[in-house]
């Protein structure tokens, strides 16, 4: 007897329904991702110059191995990791704190929540430009304010030590509200029953937070961190507009390095290789992250 015949009627229908629910999304994504993925992989294994397309030739793994010789690639790799981990860590800590702060019944709470989302709404290009101005040495807003207060100031976006922190600051400013609001949604989905029960049991606010709420919003928290981590590694708009990788290459994240390699130097093969290295990096990070989490589950 076949398995299908042994399954009760409603189980088979369940499978069909599941397929119908999942199918459209999966098919859509499949259709749109196959061609670009294969094409960009193909480019990565070829010498493909944007300016000499008559000279396209197979390059094997050359584009990838050449990266190992490139000092800038190594610098870019480190910069990207430093940026991603710092930004996400700060966003998580601050975001959680702000979510707790805003999770209260008070008049105007929803106004505050609405206002807080503004940083996320503003185009990263516009925000990057604004921050570039605020953090400009000599004529920037921050420099001006600090000089007026007779405080020592720095070269910010043009300083080798401060450029990356300033970019991280900009990213944190823009995305912490995102983390905060998602966590807030999660917190507010926790039923009042549960929190009331905890209060009746005599738990303090702090204990309620750590022992009841936090574990309950764990799925949402994980997804938010994962999404932010992935997006931070791929970040492009902000740094392109704020420092374009400078001074020198101190803020040259991988996406930017790929862009410059591809469109300024015309070396699309290497640019694609860099992009795929980024993909592998993210894959590894996500796998490690998820495994680490399932262990502590």
């Amino acid at each position: 007897m076949s398995v299908a015949a042994r399954l009760p009627q409603w189980q088979r229908r369940e499978k069909l329904v599941a397929l119908l629910l999942l199918g459209p999304a999966v098919l859509y994504l499949l259709a749109l991702s196959i061609y670009p993925t294969i094409y960009s992989l193909w480019i990565a294994f070829h010498n493909y110059s944007l300016y000499r397309r008559d000279l396209v030739s197979f390059a094997g793994f050359d584009n990838f191995t050449d990266l190992l010789d490139s000092d800038i690639f190594k610098q870019s790799f480190v910069v990207t990791l430093v940026f991603a981990f710092s930004a996400v860590a700060v966003e998580l800590a601050l975001g959680f704190a702000i979510a707790v702060l805003l999770d209260r019944k008070m008049r105007g709470a929803n106004v505050l929540r609405t206002l807080l989302i503004i940083p996320v709404l503003i185009s990263p290009v516009a925000m990057g430009l604004t921050f570039r101005y605020i953090f400009a040495p000599t004529y920037g807003l921050l420099t001006y304010l600090m000089k007026s207060a007779h405080l020592p100031t720095a070269d910010w976006t043009v300083s080798v030590t401060w450029a990356l922190p300033v970019v991280i600051f900009a990213d944190v400013w823009q995305w912490t509200p995102f983390v905060a609001l998602i966590l807030l949604s999660g917190m507010q989905s926790v039923s009042t029953e549960v929190t009331e029960a905890a209060e009746l049991d005599g738990l303090t606010e702090w204990q309620k937070l750590w022992r009841i709420v936090l574990p309950l919003i764990r799925p949402v928290l994980l997804v938010v961190v994962l999404i932010r981590l992935i997006d931070s590694i791929r970040m492009f708009d902000l740094v392109f507009v704020m420092t374009r990788g400078g001074p020198g290459s101190t803020t040259e994240v991988l996406s930017l390095f790929s862009y410059v390699t591809g469109f300024a130097s015309g070396d699309m093969g290497s640019a694609s290789a860099i992009a795929w290295v980024t993909v592998v990096l993210v894959n590894i990070l996500v796998a490690v992250f998820l495994r680490f989490l399932s262990k502590t589950a």
């Binding site: 999942l22 749109l32 991702s33 209260r104 185009s123 998602i182 989905s189 039923s191």
Partner: protein, 293 residues
Amino acid sequence: MTAQQAISSAPAHDRAAAQATKGLSFRPTLGNIGAVFVVGLWLFPVYWIALTSLKPIVEINNAVPIFIFTPTLENYRELFTKFDFARVLMNSLVIAFVSCFVVIVLAVLAAYALARMKVPGEKHIALWILSLRFLPPIAVAIPFYIQWQDLNLLDTYAGLIIIYVAFNLPFAIWMMRGFLADVPVALEEAALLDGLTRLQIIRRIVVPVVMPGIASTAIFTFVFTWNEYLMALMLTAFKSVTVPVTIAKFVQPYTILWGQLSAAVVIQVVPMLIVVFLLQRHIVRGMTLGAVK
């Protein structure tokens, strides 16, 4: 009490909850003051932008930041006369709304299947969907450009919408998957026993409960689409050009048109704020779970 009845009572509960906040006052506790202070301080760069949008150009290009000046609406006017901003705004709105709508519909269904139903290889499928977000857009810019050119989709609404749905679906599915995992299974099990179909369960039981999650995901999908730059740059010309690309045009070699840029940002933010404020109603605590007794 059947699940059916539980849900019928939900709207009343929600209304009550919503009204409950109306009666609240603002008590100047440390926490409340802190909340206002944090949000107020956080928004400082936004004030600066709003301020700049009202400054005349010569005062913007000053070595020293100017705080006191005669405000002018000249920047806003130039935006609409010189840069065709009304159409650009309309383009962005339509593209973002439609993309968001399609994404939410597909994502809620797909996420439900992944979170609740026994799908073979569920973990692998979910990870594959997430992995689509790994590739930096720069790698797919050229393939998409060439493909879109052949399909005559360049500089159209449909061309961008198709891309944005694909770009945002993974995020939406994963977000909804997270929110759906939070929903207690008991509700649905009761409904299943009552003989409701899956679709009915989704529509009548699950969606109302997970509304905060849907609202959040919708907001952020909208925002990602609204602010997306690289693909819009590559795939539009002038018929369907969007706000971020137009904003980038204000960075001109000889000067950054700060006035128009700030004005554009202000205009861009206001409608979104309205939408978000309206959706706030759904991010309110304690919706229907109390109904399951």
